[in-house]
């Protein structure tokens, strides 16, 4: 057994970092850290390339390889370090390359740029064309932290991502990794750790915002001796991917938080439940667990303290409802991941009937910071009742899409306008959707609301796991409500009739409305169904299923009415209520739309204005996409 483990560890660590040996005390950990720092403190430049999923999709691995080749070709292998890191967060501008120590940031880098980057680095210059350019002011920025997207953030949890090769534990050590664990194991009792987390008022980042310390205490005090801790990495909210970025980019941070939690709660075993859609997260986390085991940071007698703790990774298989705590417990046990009645909370009766503490990835990632720097420091960030930072995935119709980390309580407007850079193509902001399918849409007039757990709920939405989807004037709010209801009816496990049938009926009504078949009384019926589904469903999926409908009704009722009464879609989205035509004044008959129309619905002589046959047109929108003269009109 040991032999097998050792070969695995040696294999992985040989690739990056030095030899692995068991650390038997905190002193040995600090000695190792000092050695790593000394080895690295040579002032030699380090080129980092983001290999997170976003940049990866833009072929950042090719950029990494090109940089490696270029370094090799110039014989600079000893003089320049090259590092592949996790997600930097500015996914819109990927692939991102940052050079340390100058922190010069290059955006949208292509493999062909490698030579210029190296040449500039050797001459202490910058490659001007690869710098970030503000789309509005046209100003260019050299350093990463000067770019408005980053400047207005407080990247406490995500900040290390850009410095760390997630597959190399030495990088995490160099950033002070496992210092909090060392501190807890030497200077703090489990009660102290628990008290610190309680004092920090850390609220669960997965959705509900329940105080983590209180939950920990419940599990700790439960009578059963055997207890479990679980990382909920079944990030299922569409539009949110911060947990993915953390697990992929800095897995040891999450692990360290989990070990601290296990120490405080008195658990000897932990699980990480990761959704299968995140293969890189599973890989990096598995490697991190192996490395931590190799160094004795997991297993028996951790750092010579007498504390034992093991971690196992379980993969999910694509079921949104399995992210609910009792469902996740079932899934780990090997049952179908459906929610159970929670007369007794999972904190008291979870995995195999034992007390089980579940927190989401981001919550766990906060713990090492709280323990290392103290609850008082943590309480200095955020607003009343909402301490610390929150990571949002700012996506949709916004210029700077990516992961954003801000202190809780800053206004929504600051996130969307200052960090997000506003709406593309000068379009008008319409709403921002937060909280995933359980959340709601917040309109313009509430943009100055501070973002925290409580205020978002007052607006009829919620924090959820931090998805923030920006919508502009071209998004139809009835269509958005229909979209979420479609999602929820598919993901409802079907156990409760009210949820199974309620989501289905609401979807049918919404679909009829978007088809122009809405009738008077539909809105009232929706409200009634929403009430019943909310009141009579077992788990949060059903209890909050109506939120997307209710919040859009609350702020955009006139849009529903236009669909029902005037058979009109004001945002020009709902296919049955729109038609495509060509403006003969603008059309020069180039034929691009005609060649690309899948329905062959466009006719006319080339070089003279073309015509769309509305009966044949499937409203796919390709003509609109390809027209260079804006001649295609939607009415």
């Amino acid at each position: 057994m040991v032999g097998f483990l050792e070969t695995v560890i040696l294999k992985s660590v040989k690739e990056r970092g030095g030899p692995v040996f068991r650390l038997n005390s905190v002193g040995e950990l600090e000695k190792l850290r000092a050695e790593i720092s000394e080895k690295r403190d040579t002032g030699k430049p380090c080129i980092t390339t983001c290999l997170g999923t976003g940049c990866h999709a833009y072929a950042s691995y090719d950029v990494y390889d090109a940089l490696a080749e270029e370094i090799d070709a110039r014989g600079l292998k000893e003089k320049i370090e090259l590092r592949g890191t996790g997600c930097h967060g500015f996914c819109e501008q990927g692939p991102i390359v940052v050079i340390f120590p100058s922190e010069i940031c290059y955006c949208r880098v292509q493999p062909e740029d490698a030579a210029d980057i190296l040449a500039a680095l050797m001459e202490d210059k910058v490659v001007d064309r690869l710098l970030y350019e503000d789309p509005v002011s046209g100003q260019k920025y050299e350093r990463e932290d000067e770019i408005p997207f980053y400047k207005n953030q407080n990247r406490l949890i995500l900040g290390q991502n850009r410095l760390i090769d997630p597959q190399n534990i030495e990088d995490y050590f160099a950033q002070g990794g496992y210092k909090a664990l060392a501190k807890a194991l030497t200077d703090m009792t489990p009660e102290d750790v628990l008290a610190e987390v309680k004092k920090a008022n850390l609220r669960g980042r997965g959705g509900g915002g329940f105080p983590a310390g209180v939950k920990w205490e419940t599990t700790r005090q439960a009578p059963e001796k055997e207890k479990y801790v679980v990382v909920n990495a079944d990030e299922g909210d569409p539009g949110a991917y911060m947990d993915r970025s953390l697990l992929e980019g800095n897995p040891h941070l999450v692990l360290e938080g989990l070990i601290l939690g296990a120490y405080a709660i008195g658990a000897a075993e932990g699980f990480v439940y990761v959704r299968q859609e995140y293969p890189l997260a599973v890989d990096n986390l598995s490697r991190a667990v192996e490395q931590a085991q190799g160094y004795g940071l997991l297993g028996d007698n951790i750092l010579g303290s007498g504390f034992n703790f093991r971690v196992r990774i379980k993969r999910g298989a694509g079921a949104f409802v399995s992210g609910e705590s009792s469902a996740l417990v079932s899934a780990i046990e090997g049952q179908v991941g459906e929610p159970r009645p929670k007369h007794i909370n999972t904190a008291i009766s979870g995995l195999w009937g034992k007390p089980t503490n579940l927190n989401n990835v981001e919550t766990w990632a906060n713990v090492p910071f709280i323990i290392e720097r103290g609850a008082d420091w943590f309480n200095g960030i955020g607003n009343e009742g909402n301490k610390g930072t929150k990571i949002f995935s700012l996506v949709g119709k916004v210029n700077n899409t990516g992961l954003v980390e801000v202190p809780m309580g800053i206004p929504l407007r600051k996130i969307i306008e200052d960090i997000g850079g506003g709406i593309p193509q000068g379009k008008k902001f319409k709403a921002v959707q937060t909280g995933g399918p359980s959340g709601g849409c917040i309109p313009e007039q509430h943009l100055d609301t501070p973002v925290d757990f409580d205020r978002l709920q007052e607006l009829g939405s919620m924090m959820g796991s931090g998805g923030m989807i920006v919508m502009d004037e071209n998004n139809c709010m009835v269509d958005v409500a229909k979209y979420f209801m479609n999602f929820l009816k598919d993901e409802s496990c079907g156990k409760c009739t009210s949820c199974r049938e309620g989501t289905k009926r609401m979807y049918e009504i919404l679909e009829a409305i978007t088809k122009g078949e809405g009738r008077a009384g539909d809105i009232e019926l929706l409200e009634e169904l929403a009430w019943v589904t909310e009141k009579t469903s077992l788990c949060a999926l059903g209890q909050t299923a109506a939120n997307p409908v209710l919040s859009t009704l609350r702020y955009f009722r006139e849009e529903y009415e236009a669909h029902i009464n005037e058979k009109r879609c004001p945002a020009k989205v709902c296919k049955a209520l729109i038609r495509y035509t060509i403006d003969p004044e603008k059309c020069d008959g180039c034929g691009r739309c005609q060649r690309n129309c899948p329905e062959e619905a466009i006719s006319g002589e080339l070089k003279s204005p073309l015509v769309i046959d509305t009966d044949r047109c499937s409203r796919c929108g390709i003509c609109l996409e390809v027209c260079r003269r804006d001649a295609v009109v939607v009415e």
């Binding site: 299922g236 539009g239 999910g316 694509g318 996506v395 899409t401 979420f484 796919c620 996409e625």
Partner: protein, 158 residues
């Protein structure tokens, strides 16, 4: 799948019935579906009722009782992709492949599925083919993307 291979998968998980989901997923990855005979065998070996295996297979999106395509296309229907026009991409794929979401082309080359979010929201609309991401998709880019995968299939055949 040969009995020996199934045994290997089970051994990887210590033949623990609690790890049945992991076992099923490994088989799904290898076979592109869960063959009836394999489920029969697992049911006997792990002493799990067949009904439970079917329940798992039909509950989880990643599991399938019918073979998936050699190239499995996942169209992300997450919110970020939706507001940027994912429905149009799906329409185009459906018309291009002449199948509906959830189906497989008759030659089994392409399977088409929608997924609720692949977590690459900044790139929306996103299509994932065999685990590879194609970001900022447009209906126009669909054809080119499909060609790439049809091409690789031909090469393999040579």
């Amino acid at each position: 799948m040969e009995v020996k291979e199934i045994d290997q998968v089970m051994e990887k998980y210590g033949s623990d019935p609690a790890d049945i989901l992991g076992i099923l997923m490994d088989i799904q990855e290898k076979e592109r579906y869960l063959p009836r005979e394999t489920l029969d065998y697992l049911s006997k070996k792990l002493d799990l009722p067949m009904t439970k295996l079917y329940r798992m297979a039909t509950f989880y999106e990643a599991l399938s009782l019918k073979p998936l395509g050699r190239h499995q296309i996942h169209v992300c229907m997450g919110t970020a992709c939706h507001v940027r026009g994912a429905a149009r991409i799906l329409d185009k794929l459906e018309s291009q492949l002449s199948i509906k979401a959830g189906e497989v082309t008759p030659d089994l080359n392409f399977g088409l599925k929608t997924v609720n979010c692949v977590g690459a929201c900044a790139l929306g609309p996103v299509v994932q083919v065999d685990g590879e991401y194609h970001g900022n998709m447009s209906a126009l880019k669909v054809e080119r993307m499909l060609k790439k995968y049809s091409g690789s299939e031909n090469k393999e055949a040579e």
